[in-house]
């Protein structure tokens, strides 16, 4: 078997220090192979978001290593971390985190702007991403004026714009009704299947978890059981 894209060993995360210290993750091992769709499930407070933030290099673990594509991520400089998050990862959050006053196109192309792409390139790639999500007719609208489902599609377009290898999604359908959530799920899994983009999805939704290749069940900061959710 090829070496995994992301490999986690003995991952611990402690919040705070002294008597108020809280150990959210208590020594966790996990491998995610190329092209896999992984669901992280578990009760509220079990450490799902904490794990996702560590995997997405938004935070540093207290103990343990995260290897990305064979590189120990603790060795990366701040600049390399920024570049990795910008170009290798895409983010979808439960709250959309859109700039309400800016246009849909500006919101979608924000990662390109951060990466330093020219305006022309941003517009071209932004329109392509919006077309992929059937939102190209909304490009000039203010993000605020879209429906919830449309907003989440804008967020996915934004996550896609840099052609990432992994999309991290924290409760991507948590704010949407079942039907709209279903559409968003379809889009994400379509991307996973057709473009081989890894999905790391944090969810409470059993149906969404079931559609992933694999579920990682967290309980009190540890992997409780590693089951094939499809079973």
């Amino acid at each position: 078997m090829a070496s995994p894209l992301i490999s986690v060993r003995n991952l611990r995360k402690t919040y705070g220090s002294g008597p108020s210290a809280f150990e959210a993750l208590k020594g966790l091992d996990l491998d995610i192979s190329e092209g896999e769709a992984v669901a992280i499930v578990g009760r509220s407070g079990s450490g799902k978001s904490t794990l996702m933030h560590l995997l997405a290099l938004l935070d540093r673990p207290t103990v343990g290593t995260i290897t990305l594509d064979g590189t120990d991520t603790s060795r990366l400089s701040a600049r390399q971390l920024n570049r990795t998050r910008n170009s290798t990862f895409g983010f979808v959050f439960q709250q959309f985190f859109l700039n309400a006053q800016a246009t849909v196109l500006d919101n979608v192309t924000l990662p390109l702007k951060i990466a330093g792409a020219s305006r022309r390139e941003r517009t071209a790639r932004g329109m392509a991403a919006l077309a992929q999500l059937e939102l190209d007719d909304k490009a000039g609208n203010r993000a605020n004026d879209l429906s919830g489902g449309q907003k989440q599609r804008v967020v996915i377009a934004r996550a896609l714009i840099n052609r990432p290898r992994v999309i991290f999604a924290d409760e991507p359908t948590g704010n949407l009704d079942t039907a709209t959530g279903g559409v968003v799920e379809d889009i994400l899994f379509d991307l996973n299947r057709r473009e081989g983009i890894n999905l790391v999805v944090v969810t409470h939704d059993d149906d969404l978890a079931a559609r992933c290749d694999r579920g990682v069940h967290l309980r009190d900061g540890l992997v409780a059981a590693r089951e094939e959710v499809a079973a």
């Binding site: 997405a56 570049r83 998050r85």
Partner: protein, 427 residues
């Protein structure tokens, strides 16, 4: 993120909360406007003085008088000195006269290139073509000095025929017509000689002087005319009278530097004379104006500092509001340094808009005031009350931008240090 995108984003961000930003801009505007106006006032007045300097004298000439011993006027009555004569200034001001011996002594002092006693002539009246008679003051012309003229030329010092430059406001009373018409006309000047008889001589008008505040109010004769008038005036007077002068003009090498000038003044002081350069005479005026402007600027800067605190406040609110946005951008790979620039440039934008508006409006007000200042201050013709030098205006705008940048530092630092995760968790 490209620099152009950072600036563009900062610009747009600055005007996202329009009312809040506008109020901060207004505060900056008031400070910058005040600063521009006070600077403009200083520039205007000092420029006016500079412009008129040339008509007062030249900078390689100093005025020498005999030092008087009783400078402490408060120390009781001064002893009588038979050499004391009336001097320029308020009634009662006297100076010790310079005699021909003094002139020779001064001429021998090292550094004195040339000396010319100032021959005071008191003209009784001036008359043109048998018309009405008018009083006229006559001042001495120093080579190199330039009177601002409305028409004609400066007097020719070497000319043998008596010439004079007449102030503009004499044209109408003397019925000389327009400034151009007066040139070449002959006027009659009268003095009283030593025996009490009034005698007259004639002079040609070669130029018409613009009225000015520092410029001497009187007519300016050439040497030939001064000599003629002085000779007439001295006729019949005792010799002790005619060889006593209130002051003398001493030429020196202005190019030798300030120290050399000071050394010359010291040598003259040792010899018992007081020498004052033109720069010193004017220096006091400009120094007073500079001091006033400095105090006014101080108030404007206080206003600007208050406005700077407004910027700090505005930006802290903006950072607070955009916590999640900043967190998101950091999650997507925006570096701390870029976050810092985004917010500090936003502050600079606020400073730029406020100060540019302030400077523009100040210049506009200057134009308006310039239009009416002629009526408000008719005694100061040629005065532009508010004058703006591009360098000063640019300095004000840049200075305000620097204050704004400093004010933006604190909020920008806070934004750049925000932890992306807690920002994303922020409700």
């Amino acid at each position: 993120m490209r620099a152009v995108d950072i600036v563009g984003t900062a610009f747009r961000n600055a005007f996202r909360a329009k009312l809040r930003t506008s109020l901060t801009v207004l505060a900056i505007f008031i400070g910058a406007f005040t600063l521009s106006v006070t600077n403009g006032l200083g520039t205007g007045i000092n420029r006016y003085i500079d412009d008129t300097v040339a008509s007062v004298g030249v900078d390689d000439v100093m005025t020498v008088t005999k030092a008087s011993d009783d400078e402490a006027a408060g120390d009781g009555p001064a002893e009588y000195d038979p050499d004391r004569i009336e001097a320029d200034g308020p009634p009662g001001t006297t100076a010790v006269a310079l005699t021909d011996d003094d002139i020779d002594t001064i001429a021998d002092v090292a550094g004195v290139l040339e000396i010319e006693p100032v021959k005071d002539v008191a003209v009784d009246y001036v008359r043109h073509d048998g018309g009405d008679r008018y009083t006229l003051a006559v001042s001495q012309f120093v080579p190199g000095m330039e009177v601002e003229l409305t028409a004609g030329d400066q007097v020719d010092l070497d000319a043998d025929d008596p010439q004079l430059v007449l102030p503009e406001d004499y044209l109408e009373p003397l019925e000389l017509g327009g400034a151009g018409d007066a040139l070449g006309r002959t006027v009659e000047l009268a003095v009283t000689d030593g025996t009490g008889t009034q005698v007259t001589t004639e002079a040609t008008v070669v130029g018409v002087a613009e009225p000015g505040v520092i410029a001497m109010a009187g007519a300016i004769p050439n040497d030939a005319l001064t000599e003629a008038l002085y000779d007439l005036q001295s006729t019949g007077a005792p010799e002790s009278e005619t060889t006593r002068y209130g002051e003398a003009s001493v030429w020196f090498d202005a190019g030798a530097g300030e120290e050399a000038t000071q050394a010359l003044q010291d040598r003259l002081a040792d010899a018992g004379y007081t020498a004052v350069t033109l720069e010193e005479q004017l220096g006091t005026i400009t120094a007073v104006i500079d001091a006033i402007v400095l105090v006014l600027n101080g108030f404007a800067v206080i206003a600007l500092i208050a406005a700077g605190i407004g910027i700090v406040n505005t930006l802290f609110m903006a950072v607070q509001e955009r916590t999640r946005e900043v967190g998101l951008m950091k999650a997507m790979g925006l570096s701390n340094g870029r976050v810092f620039s985004l917010f500090s440039i936003e502050a600079v934008v606020i400073g730029l808009v406020g100060s540019a508006l302030g400077a523009l409006v100040a210049i506009g007000v200057g134009q308006l005031v310039g239009g009416v200042s002629g009526e408000l201050l008719p005694d100061l013709p040629g005065l532009t009350l508010l004058a703006f030098e591009p360098v000063t205006v640019a300095a004000v705008v840049l200075g305000v931008m620097a204050i704004a940048f400093l004010a933006g530092n604190l909020p920008a630092l806070r934004a750049s240090r925000q932890d992306p995760i807690s920002s994303l968790r922020y409700e």
